[in-house]
């Protein structure tokens, strides 16, 4: 099917691979269960072949994928993954992904928060990223399950990787946070269409979908100036040295998510705001973020 959109096949293939691994199915088992050949499963996962519609619908239902239309964005949410605060160590042993033992720890963010970074690595840093995955044995499929809880110790390694390569990347330009709009995370109330500040408020409201690495508090609202304080969560402080909090690029950009979202929603033509995000450290674990 060379004539049709290859990206759809690739995205569908990523989802099939990730949900199969999550549910601990081998390609052969999946083939048997859904009455297809193992070689076709392999081709589907590689994006060479589009899945049969019937297979896709049956598979997304059986594997509790929330949205059968997730082939449009190439990642899935799985219904029975527990909430972040209810994920115990046994969860990591129950899933098909082989999570290295030394990573098993309490999570406080989901893949959703990391996914925009992964998209940048895959396009701009492919070789280093693949080497990192091979060296650490982190299963890549976990980043395609948006509500997968990332163990905090794994997040530390991810943050270190980002820090190591940050100079080669332009996150300000490439980090596409709006790609997640179809997950319903950016509910706009009717006032928000022209006020980025409402995007911020909505992010604060919805942040549990991403996990809590920072507790945000809106501190002022005046014209098109907005600022928010980002308090580092205690779990994050257990993992990162205080000196790293201000300098680590992952933490830095991760903290700025709501403001970056505001920036991307800012209709520059209608606003006097220039859409710049400022970050100012006020104490060891408290940052003041401003959008001006």
């Amino acid at each position: 099917m060379d004539e049709t959109e290859p990206s759809l096949r690739l995205k569908a293939g990523r989802v099939v691979y990730a949900v199969r691994k999550f549910h601990n199915y081998g390609q052969m088992e999946l083939a048997k269960e859904f009455n297809v050949s193992q070689s076709n499963v392999s081709k589907i996962e590689s994006g060479i072949l589009a899945p049969d519609l019937r297979l896709w619908m049956e598979l997304t239902r059986a594997f509790k994928v929330k949205d059968p239309y997730c082939f449009y964005y190439g990642s899935a949410e799985i219904e029975n993954i527990p909430q972040l605060n209810k994920v115990g160590k046994s969860f990591y042993k129950s899933v098909g992904f082989k999570i290295p033992k030394h990573y098993i720890s309490d999570p406080f963010i989901t893949s959703r928060k990391v996914r925009p970074f992964i998209d940048v690595f895959e396009t701009s840093l492919e070789k280093a990223w693949n080497e990192f995955l091979a060296d650490t044995s982190i299963p890549s499929g976990i980043f395609d399950i948006l509500n997968f809880p990332i163990p905090s110790l794994m997040m530390k390694d991810l943050a270190d990787f980002i820090q190591k390569h940050a100079a080669k990347l332009d996150f300000t330009k490439d980090l596409n946070l709006m790609s997640q709009v179809n997950h319903g995370l950016l509910f706009e109330d009717y006032v928000s269409a022209s006020t980025p500040f409402n995007v911020l408020k909505q992010f604060v409201h919805k942040q549990r979908e991403y996990g809590i690495d920072f507790e945000y508090a809106i501190t002022e609202e005046k014209g098109c100036e907005s600022s928010v304080s980002a308090q580092v969560s205690p779990q994050l402080l257990n993992i990162f040295a205080k000196k790293d909090l201000a300098t680590n690029k992952f933490l830095n950009f991760s903290a700025q998510y709501p403001l970056l979202m505001m920036k991307s929603k800012d209709p520059n033509t209608k606003s006097a705001c220039n859409g710049k995000v400022r970050m100012q450290e006020t104490s060891d674990s408290l940052w003041k973020l401003s959008y001006v």
Binding site: D52, L53, R54, M57, E58
Partner: protein, 304 residues
């Protein structure tokens, strides 16, 4: 559903689409963005139906992917989608007592909450796109309102969502015939009267709205079913609990329709679903007591 059976339905739908659109194999292949050879392979084996081709077809002709496998699609709607005829499927056309205005704010809310793609996917469940709802005066029957809200509820939309949809209806009606009508209002009270007398039929005429009591503190609104609509629809049951929430949201926003930035507390005090002869709503006007125009002016004769 049995997979052999679903394959039969799928291929029947695929073939019926070609027939109803009167496309040759080559034309159909081009429509699907595939070459003639691929088309021949696809149709001769009838084994698997690739997701990407199904997605293309579903996007262009506005149908839900699961429905493509599970039920015979409405070919009239397929024809309308292909030829860009802005009409809803047959089920929603007779006894058209509702206007697009009664649902446009629902779709607007869905788009704001979940994005345009999600809204379009939801609409595909009903074999339509949003074009019909762009003209707020387009008419359809209440079944579309019932089906859409029930589907949204199934997708997780709750009571407060429906109420907010109603409250936010004002944003789509800040211009046009609704405002033209309300511009005639001489006082807040008169504006409320005009709203229920002239504006409510611009949303839907499946119920009549009669103000039975109007004091400076409250309005009691009696809403019996429109017998004419009931007969035309061949049903005794019109509406559902989600539509009631939508309606309450709209009533709550009546002051906003009149340019007053204040929602009204509203409640339903009697319901036909509980055996009452009509729905009765109570709107609390006390929150507007600081406004002079709400005082006891005479009700217009139609409410007496």
């Amino acid at each position: 559903m049995d997979s052999n059976f679903s394959q039969i339905i799928l291929w029947r739908n695929f073939s019926n689409i070609q027939k109803v659109l009167n496309l040759s194999d080559d034309e159909y292949a081009r429509f699907l963005n595939i070459g003639p050879k691929t088309f021949r392979t696809l149709t001769s084996t009838k084994a698997a139906f690739p997701l990407d081709i199904a997605a293309t077809l579903s996007e262009k002709l506005f149908f839900d992917l699961a429905d493509f496998l599970e039920k015979d699609l409405d070919m009239d709607a397929i024809y309308s989608a292909y030829f860009k005829i802005e009409q809803l499927p047959e089920r929603y056309r007779p006894a058209a007592f509702c206007r697009a205005r009664s649902l446009a704010h629902v779709l607007d809310y869905v788009e704001r909450k979940q994005g345009k793609l999600r809204k379009n996917i939801i609409l595909r469940k009903f074999q339509t796109n949003g074009a019909f709802f762009k003209n707020l005066d387009n008419a359809h029957n209440i079944h579309f309102n019932e089906d859409l809200t029930a589907h949204l509820h199934h997708l997780g939309y709750d009571k407060s969502d429906f109420f907010q949809m109603g409250q936010n209806s004002v944003h789509l009606n800040s211009k046009g015939p609704v405002q033209d009508c309300l511009r005639e209002a001489k006082s807040v009270k008169n504006g409320v009267e005009i709203f229920f007398e002239c504006v409510s039929p611009m949303f839907d005429r499946t119920h009549h709205y009669k103000i039975t009591t109007m004091t400076k503190d409250k309005i009691i609104l009696d809403a019996p079913r429109n017998k004419e609509a009931q007969d035309a629809l061949h049903t005794k049951i019109i509406s559902n609990e989600h539509l009631c929430q939508l309606k309450l949201g709209i009533f709550s926003a009546v002051p906003l329709y009149l340019g007053i930035q204040q929602y009204l507390p509203v409640k339903k005090t009697r319901s036909v679903f509980e055996g009452a002869p009509s729905n009765v709503y109570e709107l609390d006007l006390s929150v507007l007591s600081h406004l002079s125009g709400i005082s006891n002016t005479t009700l217009s004769p139609i409410y007496q």
